[in-house]
Amino acid sequence: MSKELIRLQNLTMEFDGERILDGINLYINDHEFLTLLGPSGCGKSTTLRIIGGFLTPTDGNVLFDGERINDVPAYRRQINTVFQRYALFPHLDVYDNIAFGLRVAKVPKDEIHERVTRMLEVVSLRGYENRKINALSGGQQQRVAIARALVNEPKVLLLDEPLGALDLRLRKDMQNELKRIQQATGITFIYVTHDQEEALSMSDTIVVMNKGRIQQIGKPEDIYNEPKNAFVADFIGESNILDGVMLSDYRVRFFGKTFPCVDKGFEPSEPVDVVIRPEDIDIVPPAEGSLTGTVASVTFKGLNYDIIVEVKGFKWLIQTTDFHPVGAVIGIRLNPEDIHIMHKSEYSGQFGDYSSYSAEYDELTEDAGDEEE
């Protein structure tokens, strides 16, 4: 496809003896929209700041176009950043903020005017040239921040949770807008977020991170459909994760039953994690199901019901458009392609049981709430 632009080699970062990044290896192609996704504290912002030149890695290399740039200061990199909470200059108006980089680069005045005006059009802020930054709404400030970075026509644009402070509606609009700008300009975007939905809908490539390590790299569909371990399965969407044993290729056993599946290449009788997405499960009359369970709770979510079903002591999350009352006995049918098999990992047993459904939900919203520094 396109050529490699940035490569991170065995990147390690320590602060006060604490390891924030632990051996990050990653390459980023030209024109790519790559997202670093993970919970707060996973190291995604640190990785971005190293690429931007604001941090020097403790160990490892940052290569740009094949050249090592570990010690190149931020101001000499062909990279611009859209900062978390924007970091716009409060003493300058909209026009001067956007023109800042061009003036530093001593671009002729006429050209500055032309490029700033064009950029104001791209982010739909014509007529706001002389507004003070403090007189703008969050969404407008956001767009100034994007314009201020893009006007310099960088090779790479870094975006550090740029939509975190916006409300849901505006966030959706800006997601489309950013994707459109990225495709129109062909600039490589490296995007940091903890919002899996945002990552899935915008990215060409997603890098899932946790505890300073890369968990999985792949296209959004691959990450969602073939999560590599229980952490990824749990972090991207909702997942029921069960203990199972891979009897042979295409045959997995859990809950005392053997199910056909589409995975192969495991050791005979290897213990595995079995992932079943809540939206993939079919609810059928008890007699027709391969498993039966009792509805323990029902939550209306608008698009669907989230129902918790207890099957032999394990609580499943099932998403269905049909209402089933609490206490009802239902059958569960699993199709072979809905059963995803993963090797056991350090995360096995930590995720995917909905026994404490509400607690886990709280934890997730809490994660989404605080911002990573």
């Binding site: 200061p73 931020a74 611009n80 978390q84 970091a87 200059f89 530093v104």
Partner: protein
């Protein structure tokens, strides 16, 4: 209800202000515009002012020079303090404040002891076979006294403006191609302007009206307007002329601070408008 409370709470100070600011101001105005002998309304006191014009300019010149020396010395210090760890910041802040715990008069007298021909510095130089160098009663000594006494008033507002500048703005400037010098000239300096204006005002205003520093450290050629005014009240026995000079000095200070504030822009945050 809430409004009533705030009126009630501010009453003591409002009374204070009327009694000790507003009324004295009226008294000064009254004296300035009345004849010393007859007590009749007159502009005569103000007519004599051009005789004192050189002294006014001298005072302004000394204060401006002192304020700029304070700025040049204070800015790097304030910048340094603002970029230390919080604990170190507190300690350094306290060090800057420390001299202000001692009486202004005592500190100025201490400089007399240091600078005079038989003072500590000249005694020390004498041992080395140098001097004595006459330092006291020179314009330099007056400027030194002003800088020494008012430097904290420059450092503190500068520090509080600089410490509030968001570090991400510095990163944003670097990101957009600024090296260290350009980060300073394009971001840090403009954002610290309110602090600079406040600092200069807080040095300039007390310096332009001082008489103690010039009397103790200065000589006959360093007479400032503060000295002249003091003399009208204490020796010259012409309080009407003194009041007129005070009034003009006050106007002068107002004009100067007004120009300064305009220069910084009116709606900037961080600085205290004096």
């Amino acid at each position: 209800m809430k409004k009533n409370n705030s009126v009630l709470l501010s009453t003591p100070y409002l009374i204070w202000m009327v009694a000790f600011t507003l009324i004295p101001l009226c008294v000064v105005g009254f004296y300035a515009l009345t004849d010393p002998a007859t007590g009749k309304f007159t502009f005569d006191n103000l007519k004599n002012l051009d005789a004192y014009l050189p002294v006014f300019w001298q005072s302004v010149a000394y204060s401006v020079v002192s304020a700029f020396i304070c700025l040049l010395m204070g800015y790097p210090v304030a910048y340094f303090i603002a970029h230390q760890k919080p604990v170190a910041q507190k300690f350094l802040y306290m060090l800057v404040m420390l001299p202000m715990c001692m009486s202004f008069l005592l500190r100025t007298l201490a400089w007399v002891g240091l600078l005079q021909d038989t003072g500590i510095i000249n005694t020390f130089l004498g041992r080395l076979g140098i001097g004595p160098i006459s330092m006291i009663r020179t314009p330099g000594a007056v400027v030194l006294g002003m800088v020494y006494n008012y430097l904290p008033y420059m450092i503190l507002p500068l520090y509080s403006t600089l410490v509030k500048i968001d570090h991400r703005l510095v990163e944003a400037a670097e990101d957009l191609g600024c090296n260290g010098a350009k980060v300073f000239s394009k971001v840090i300096f403009p954002l610290s302007l309110p602090g600079i204006v406040t600092g200069i005002t807080m040095v300039f205003v007390p310096a332009v009206s001082t008489f103690y520093i010039s009397q103790k450290l200065g000589g006959t050629e360093t007479v400032l307007i503060g000295d002249v005014i003091e003399r009208q009240f204490k020796q010259g026995n012409n309080p009407n002329l003194g009041a007129a000079l005070s009034l003009v000095l006050m106007l002068l200070v107002f004009v100067c601070t007004g120009i300064m504030n305009r220069f910084a822009g009116d709606d900037e945050e961080g600085g205290v408008i004096v």
